[in-house]
């Protein structure tokens, strides 16, 4: 039983008899969908921890314009994901057990082709990958896509450096007392430490540590920062539990701690407003704006709670420009990097909320984009 290709001729033949009796519809040919390259700027990758099982997890790929699913990536054990800067690769740091919930553990870094959504290659990494609610800066890429940094937590903390070019582990960098890895340029990453400093580790072209420095950033006892910051052109922006933005420029040779500024007026603070959420910060680089998930009637223990309120700030002037309101409580934010940017919010039922940042309009909700949407990425 051979298949007949559906070509323009067949469609035309059908059209000629439309309205009355049709010729038999032709046999179909089975195909395989593929995504375009370069990737569309509004293609969203939603990291889905599937909290109700958390073994075989996924990254949902959704077109935020049409609110349609484009495909998915199958991951292992609440895997973090990150994108290469050249748009060609999704990296996931997967944890597999031979009997799914038990047996022999195998950790791998998997490189997925962004067009075919197939694994291009994988490399086994030390069985130390951190298992946390997935967040930015658990898995990152150097600016030139040469190295991938995997955060480990056993609970001793370290980073596994994977050489993307050689497709092998270059080494492991110990990070005593520090967490996560905030990439800075081609050969450096920072890590946030319990003493309120940033640890800066510099690598050579072989991925080996050649220098480490520390810079004091915050007071962890009296003004704790939320570790889930957001980067923009070499500068990281963090927010304190009570709404003060603390920037640090890691783009130069030496880190430069920026002047702190407040998200809130005294009146707003007194009225009970404060930041809170999971990935509670987003930056639209082409607009130079910062988006912050804000709570009314905030209490300290709500610092990771969802909200429907997003406040908009000018990154240069620190002025509040307005607010966005989501129809459903959201927990994790991401803004796209193009010049007609969208704000993407992962809502608490796994749906994706989409806002046009040029007009400030809520464009729609894609329900069931994920089961547990914890992080959103785009190229």
């Amino acid at each position: 039983m051979s298949s007949i290709r559906i070509g323009p001729a067949a469609v035309l033949a059908g059209a000629l008899v439309a309205g009355s009796a049709y010729a038999d519809l032709p046999h179909d040919e089975i195909g395989q969908a593929k995504l375009p390259f370069p990737p569309e700027p509004h293609r969203a990758y939603i990291v889905d921890m599937e909290f109700d099982t958390m073994v075989a997890t996924r990254v949902s790929v959704v077109d935020a314009d049409s609110l349609r699913m484009l495909g998915m990536i199958s991951t292992g054990g609440a895997a973090p994901a990150t994108l290469s800067h050249d748009g060609r690769t999704v990296f996931t740091a997967d944890l597999f057990y031979s009997r799914y919930t038990r047996g022999t553990r195998t950790d791998v870094l998997t490189a997925w082709d962004t067009s075919t959504l197939e694994p291009a290659w994988e490399v086994e990494i030390p069985p130390k990958r951190a298992s946390t609610i997935v967040q930015r800066y658990g898995l990152t890429v150097s600016d030139d896509d040469r190295f991938v940094y995997v955060f480990n937590l056993t609970p001793a903390t370290s980073v596994t450096v994977v050489d993307v070019q050689a497709r092998k582990v270059a080494g492991e960098v110990a990070l005593p007392g520090c967490i996560l890895n905030y990439p800075a340029g081609k050969r450096r990453f920072a890590s946030m430490c319990g003493d309120g400093s940033l640890l800066l580790v510099t690598l050579d072209d072989a991925g080996q540590e050649v220098a480490r420095d520390k810079v004091k950033l915050f007071d962890p006892d009296h003004k704790p920062l939320i570790e889930r910051g957001i980067a923009n052109a070499g500068t990281y922006h963090f927010v304190t539990l009570d709404g003060v933005v603390q920037g640090v420029d890691l783009g130069g040779d030496k880190p430069r701690v920026l002047e702190p500024w407040s998200l809130l007026t005294d009146a707003e603070r007194k009225a009970g407003w404060a930041p809170g959420g999971w990935q509670l910060l987003a930056i639209a680089p082409k607009l130079g704006r910062l988006y912050v998930l804000m709570h009314p009637e905030h209490q300290p223990h709500m610092w990771e709670d969802p909200s429907t309120q997003v406040w908009i700030y000018d990154l240069a002037t620190h002025q509040k420009l307005g607010t966005l309101e989501s129809p459903n409580p959201i927990w994790t934010l991401h803004a796209t990097g193009d010049d007609k940017p969208l704000l993407l919010g992962g809502n608490i039922e796994g749906g994706l909320e989409v806002f046009d940042l040029t007009t400030g309009k809520h464009l729609g909700t894609k329900p069931k984009a994920a089961k547990t949407a914890v992080q959103i990425l785009s190229h």
């Binding site: 039983m1 179909d28 075989a56 495909g71």
Partner: protein
Amino acid sequence: MKLLDRLFERSTRRVAETTSRRAALARIGSWIVAGSALPLLLPIDRVAGRALAAETGKPGDPGDPNSCDYWRYCSVDGFLCTCCGGTVTSCPPGVEVSQVTWIGTCRNPADGKDYIISYNDCCGKQSCGQCACTRNDSEQPMYRPFNNNDINWCMGAKSQVYNCTLAVIRGVAN
């Protein structure tokens, strides 16, 4: 794979014969739309006439392939690939089509003809979870396996893990 391929072709022919009889019974009945919990959920009302709208944009192939009420889905049980990054006849990116499949007979409301539809499963990623749809218009018990949709037909792919289902025209039933 080649062996399975041949077994499938043999069976499809046999099935084509035995289903033409059942095709006479073909009805555009009610059906089931699955929610997140189960392959089977509560019946929904059919939107009368909707299936006749030429939403595919293909003459003679009316209806919305993203909807469980599209005519080709008369015997589907699973997630519609059209909602998962694929099309009615294309697997989503990175998901492999199974070479063995089950067969249904569905009446095309545009020409009144009964078509043999193969419901090829796309395999190698876990359940897509979108547009779950179960309709058993021409389904038969499992001792007629090639007419049964309770089987995971990913058995003909490299990985048995099920992602979503296509609805592929294989011919007219009589």
